[in-house]
């Protein structure tokens, strides 16, 4: 890769996980609501294997770069809606659409199909915020992008279980 968009990103420590309480009701058929932490876990962990989404240009996860935090995930389980607001590391990050696409693909592959997913950059954190948001939420463009082998390879690389 040539010159990096952000050569020296700030790397943060991974967040301590809350211990999830085991529900008293162990009926396997009971529909469990999906909460914020679960979405975060889908995005960043799978069981006990760390499966962080890798930044497209750094060997760090989006969590370590604080591109996505637990608080940036809003879930309305009743209405089956998830909104992820991510913060690109620099204002002119040309990788923003790829990061957004990775988040969308990861959630598409992990959540029940009834979920509606909105992905956006945090207000004021990207020079072309409106354009990035529009593109990330146009399902026809997303569908076309996911038929592009080069782009899919890039996304899969970011979503690969081991990148370190």
């Amino acid at each position: 890769m040539g010159s990096l968009i952000n050569a020296n990103p700030t790397v943060y420590e991974r967040k301590e996980r809350r211990v999830r309480s085991t529900p008293a009701n162990t009926d396997e058929n009971a529909e469990e609501p999906i909460d914020q932490l679960e979405i975060f876990d889908i995005l960043f962990m799978h069981y006990f294997h760390v499966r962080d989404i890798k930044d497209p240009e750094h060997p760090y996860s989006l969590e370590e770069l604080k591109v996505v935090t637990e608080d940036s995930i809003e879930v309305n389980d009743k209405q089956s809606c998830v909104r992820v607001t991510f913060t690109p590391t620099v204002e002119h990050c040309s990788m923003a659409t790829v990061i957004g696409l990775c988040l969308r693909v990861k959630l598409m592959r992990s959540l029940p199909p009834r979920y509606k997913v909105d992905i956006r950059v945090a207000p004021g954190t990207h020079a072309t915020e409106a354009a990035v948001n529009k593109q990330l939420n146009d399902k026809e463009r997303v569908a076309a992008a996911l038929e592009n082998p080069n782009l899919v390879e890039m996304v899969d690389e970011c979503l690969a279980p081991t990148f370190a």
């Binding site: 509606k116 529009k134 146009d138 026809e140 076309a144 038929e147």
Partner: protein, 349 residues
């Protein structure tokens, strides 16, 4: 619609077979000869399926699968006015023309020229012209020649982003395109010299949409048009003037009649106006809404009111809706859930 009756959208049948989201569908307009009702549907599974209604049992079944021609998503499909030819537009940058004889379909032509994804295809009223549009921001007009030859007669530039849908006026050679650039463009021919140009742009300056315009539909007489958008509204337009004859004179231009906001919670992908005057809209909120023009006119013009809203019409986004021409109370819908549903608008006491 009848007074004193409550209207209901009743599910007749769910058609399963596609292995990915269904993007589009089209009723075959051929009438007479006791021809069975027929629908073509197209999908992210790269195939087109033909569905026929069994005349005796009334049940729908898949009678043909057109595959191995398009190499990517088939985004939209449209029958020629006589129902003999089917055009299919694909993300593979081509539009295929299929000829039907009985239940057999042969690909008789491939329209190539767009740089990338073709998103929509439409036949004009006489079946002599085809319009296509693409992510390459252009709209192409093709003329049908004898022997299934298609010549490109015009490449229309003007949109600044992907063009989502093209649709011809139901009787005039006027073409409308809608785009990711939030605008609607009206195209007409200049005299007899085959020179097409944009006669009007309907955008925010004339109470147009504030986000991607996904679809449009004319009423049967062509004096009104409805559009739907990512801005969650439907808009009705007065298209009573022929804009190709006024040459930009503001007096003859198409104008916004009203906006229908607040009925869908997510992007409205599809809208279709029935022969009987019922507008159906389908959206990413999985719901179908039906609207009619109310009998009470105000001095500001006609009013459109919600007839009914069918929540959870599908398990996922609704991408396309179309009323049958032959039986105007039958509606078909296509969804991300991979199914097509046939609905009947019925009055219940």
């Amino acid at each position: 619609m009848e007074d004193g009756k409550k209207l209901e959208l009743r599910e007749i049948q769910r058609l399963e077979g596609h292995t990915d989201r269904v993007w589009g569908l089209a009723w075959n307009p051929a009438t007479g000869g006791g021809a069975p009702a027929m629908i073509a549907s197209c999908s992210g599974d790269k195939s087109v399926r033909i569905w026929e209604q069994n005349p005796s049992s009334g049940s729908w079944e898949c009678t043909a699968v057109l595959e191995d021609t398009h190499t990517r998503t088939v985004r939209s499909c449209a029958w020629s006015p006589d129902g003999r030819l089917l055009a299919t537009a694909s993300f593979d940058a081509t539009t295929a023309i299929w000829e039907r004889s009985g239940r057999d379909f042969d690909c008789v032509a491939t329209l190539e020229g767009h740089e990338n994804e073709v998103k929509s295809v439409s036949w004009n009223a006489s079946g002599t012209l085809i319009a296509t549009c693409s992510r390459d921001k252009s709209v192409w007009i093709w003329e049908m020649q004898p022997g299934n030859e298609f010549d490109c007669v015009s490449v229309l530039q003007g949109h600044t982003q992907d063009v989502k849908m093209v649709q011809w006026h139901p009787s005039l050679n006027i073409l409308v395109s809608v785009s990711y650039d939030n605008s609607i463009k009206v195209w007409a021919e200049d005299g007899d010299d085959d020179d097409w140009h944009c006669v009007q742009t309907l955008d925010k300056t004339v109470s147009g949409h504030s986000s991607t315009v996904w679809a449009l539909s004319f009423n049967s007489s062509g004096d009104k048009m409805v559009t739907c958008s990512d801005d969650l509204t439907l808009k009705i337009w007065d298209t009573g003037y022929n804009p190709s004859q006024t040459n930009g004179d503001a007096y003859g231009s198409w104008t916004n009649v009203c906006s229908l906001p607040g009925y869908h919670d997510r992007t409205v992908f599809s809208v279709h106006w029935s022969r009987e005057g019922v507008i159906a809209s389908g959206a990413a909120d999985d719901a179908i809404c039906l609207f009619v023009q109310s009998k009470n006119h105000t001095i500001d013009g006609p009013l459109f009111t919600l007839l009914l809203k069918k929540e959870k019409a599908h398990d996922m986004d609704i991408n396309s809706l179309q009323w049958s021409k032959k039986e105007p109370r039958l509606l078909a819908s296509a969804s991300d859930d991979g199914t097509i549903k046939i609905w009947e608008l019925v009055g219940v006491f």
